[in-house]
């Protein structure tokens, strides 16, 4: 069953991408519909598989499929192998499910774009690559999918290529991802040298027996890879720029799925992290910094998508944090990943719907009081909002709460910081809600907000429902138990504050955040342009905490200088050294040809001198 169906899950969207991209204009009319149907078909496959395996015992749920030998050299044998297990099954559902919804949504959102067909082709390519990523049975196939989603992300961010900013953002995203890929490449190499294989089975089985230093390095390298893909500090700067892509792209790739691949990678490599406490600490540190970093950025942005992007960064920080907490957090990382996938996709699509209504204006200062103009969008967005701030009962509440709880058990200050992050989240999300749907109208002239067509609102409704109800996965610790065969049993809770206290604290902190937002934004008129006379924390937050500046100063500028210097060195140094040969010979010749001065007497002198030298030389040689 699994081995028969699994390849199709990937092949269907891949087929769609191939047909649309190679088929060219012939497929313009029907291509987008085909491209929408194929992920849905994949979703059906995934669902069938899920249900099928659910009825089986734990150990039978994990199955690998060998398709063909990808490459084989020396002792390295890499199969194009797929692995279907509890972990990938959840991802499968998320990707195909949310992916399908976003395809449907895009049918409406991109209806008037002349290059619609290509957009759908890229989307299908993305889905196929993302599925490859999560279904891989070894690190190399994972890397294939990993880079595939990177490519699709590149193509989609830069989809509106005529905008230089979009093209630049796409390149930036790809290049920064590649910095992370260096880590992943080296991790693959280290895996091979350590275990002789890159398949998850072998690596996970061998991790306990390998040296801790090696495992630490491996963990850090994987973390570097994860940082790139999941926009964690210090490789976070691309995510905000990535919002140049069409909004469905932001929803699917830069919120629900691709950016969470780093979390997936961490959880997938849990055995390595388990064997490397130092690496785990590093994960925790990176995650904590990122969750605050993203949240702070979110507070200062006026661009609705950038607020959501900052929020995404922050939420992924939570997931990474959970992953860094070890067996206590793996399941919650995945749990939060899933719920976040629902509510963030929901909100991004909602934002898209708003932009659609506001003639693609993204500045929240030009919004206001939209709840009446677009009720469906408002209501669905509100569900997402409540979920993300962790309103009790909504999915985000359950998932985030568990992470804060686990963090608190790890160390109190991590828990405190996570809690603080939750407060900021509440603040900026409330600010967003208020500026967009409440307060007074600040619409531009000629803008007539209207509700989006049902092909766009339909997916919103579904996602809103999921945002609300995502918490059911936690019922009876289902998700922990389901994932336990893969990531291990969570340890027994030993000490620290009781869970209900943490929940209460969280709710209080969130309430404070909401209240603060109400005081600062809701009660006052919102200026039409951002005030410039702000205090330094705001200024810093608006500059993304100088993320770009840091990169510019420490990487790009030195890189440019280095490139320039190397060009000079190459031209005058290396080339000069090589082509200097002829010049030197010419100079030598220029001097010595003067000896050939045309006067026979000086020729005779050279003969005589030569004779003397030859005789003397012979004597010297003979002497020895």
């Amino acid at each position: 069953m699994v081995s028969n169906v699994l390849p199709f899950v990937i092949a269907l969207p891949l087929l769609g991408a191939a047909v649309l991209l190679i088929g060219g204009r012939r497929t313009d009319s029907w291509g987008p519909y085909l491209a929408t149907l194929l992920p849905i078909a994949s979703f059906v496959c995934a669902l069938v598989l899920f249900v099928h395996t659910l009825g089986q015992p734990d150990d039978a749920r994990s199955q690998s499929v060998h398709l063909w030998t990808w490459f084989e050299a020396g002792k390295l044998n890499v199969g194009a192998d797929l692995l279907y297990d509890q972990l990938s099954s959840l991802f499968l559902l998320l990707i195909t499910g949310v992916g399908s919804l976003i395809h449907v949504y895009s049918l409406g959102y991109m209806a008037h774009d002349e290059r619609k067909r290509r957009f759908f082709g890229y989307l299908n390519l993305f889905v196929a690559a993302m599925l490859t990523l999560v279904l891989a049975a070894n690190y190399l196939v994972l890397f294939l999918g990993w880079e595939g989603v990177g490519l699709a992300s590149y193509l989609l961010i830069g989809f509106w290529q005529h905008k230089p900013s979009a093209a630049a953002a796409a390149k930036k995203a790809f290049v920064m991802n590649r910095v992370g890929d260096m880590g992943l490449s080296l991790a693959i190499a280290l895996c091979f040298t350590t275990f002789g294989s890159t398949s998850f089975d072998v690596v996970n089985a061998g991790a306990q027996h390998a040296g801790e230093t090696t495992m630490t390095w491996l963990g850090l390298l994987l973390l570097l890879g994860a940082c790139g893909k999941s926009a964690q500090v210090p490789l976070q700067a691309w995510l905000l720029d990535a919002m140049e892509g069409p909004t469905p792209v932001s929803a699917l790739i830069h919120a629900a799925t691709m950016v969470t691949a780093g979390v997936y990678l961490m959880v997938r490599s849990h055995a390595i992290l388990d064997a490397a406490p130092v690496a785990r600490t590093a994960v925790v540190v990176v995650a904590t910094v990122t969750l605050l970093w993203g949240a702070i950025i979110g507070t200062a942005k006026d661009d609705i998508k950038k607020v959501l992007a900052g929020s995404t960064m922050s939420q992924i920080g939570y997931m990474m944090l959970a992953a860094g907490l070890g067996p206590a957090g793996y399941a919650f990382a995945i749990f939060h990943l899933l719920t976040h996938g629902f509510f963030k996709a929901n909100m991004f699509l909602g934002a898209g719907s708003v932009m659609h209504a506001m003639d693609d204006d993204v500045d929240m200062r030009h919004y206001g009081a939209l709840r009446r103009a677009m009720p469906v969008t408002f209501l669905t967005f509100a569900m997402g909002y409540l979920a993300i701030i962790g309103f009790p009962g909504f999915s985000g509440f359950w998932s985030k709460d568990k992470i804060i709880d686990a963090a608190w058990h790890e160390h109190w200050w991590i828990g405190a910081l996570a809690l603080f992050g939750a407060g900021i989240t509440a603040f900026y999300m409330t600010r967003l809600m208020l500026m967009t749907f409440f307060t007074e109208k600040r619409w531009r002239d000629g803008v007539h907000p209207h509700e989006s067509p049902s092909i766009m609102t339909g997916p919103l409704v579904v996602l809103a429902a999921l945002s609300v109800l995502g918490g059911v996965m936690l019922l009876g610790s289902w998700i922990q138990d389901y994932l336990a065969p893969i990531v291990g049993e969570p340890p027994e809770e030993s000490s620290g504050a009781p869970a209900w206290l943490i929940s209460l604290l969280a709710v209080l902190v969130v309430a404070c955040g909401v209240a603060l937002a109400w005081f600062l934004v809701g009660r006052r008129p919102v200026p039409d342009t951002a005030p410039t006379d702000v205090r330094w924390p705001v200024a810093v937050a608006r500059q993304d905490l100088y993320g770009d500046e840091i990169n510019d100063t420490f990487v790009i500028l030195p890189g440019r200088k280095l490139t320039g210097a190397l060009l000079e060195i190459d031209k005058y140094g290396v080339d000069g050294l090589m082509t200097g040969g002829p010049v030197a010979v010419g100079a030598f010749a220029g001097i010595f040809r003067k000896a050939q001065n045309g006067f026979v007497r000086s020729y005779a002198l050279s003969v005589l001198g030569g004779a003397v030298v030859v005789v003397l030389a012979l004597m010297v040689v003979n002497w020895q």
Partner: protein, 100 residues
Amino acid sequence: MTDVTPYLIVSAVLFSIGATGVLIRRNAIVVFMCIELMLNAANLSLVSFSNLHGNLEGQVTAFFVMVVAAAEVVIGLAIIMTIFRSRRSASIDDASLLKW
């Protein structure tokens, strides 16, 4: 068996004078004469060595050198004459068009 060293010294001196003459004199004829001097220096040492070794090969060679010198004169003077006729000068320094 006689000591040939003085003869050889004279020969070497002659040779050196000839070689020096070639280097310092401008007139083609004089230069040529200096070369003849070098040949004769060789003749002297050939004859001396012939005496030393008690065979005639050196002396025979000396005769050949004289013959060759005579032949050289013929050729040399012909060339020097042509040059002199074209340039109205027997200075070898004037003939320096070919260089570098």
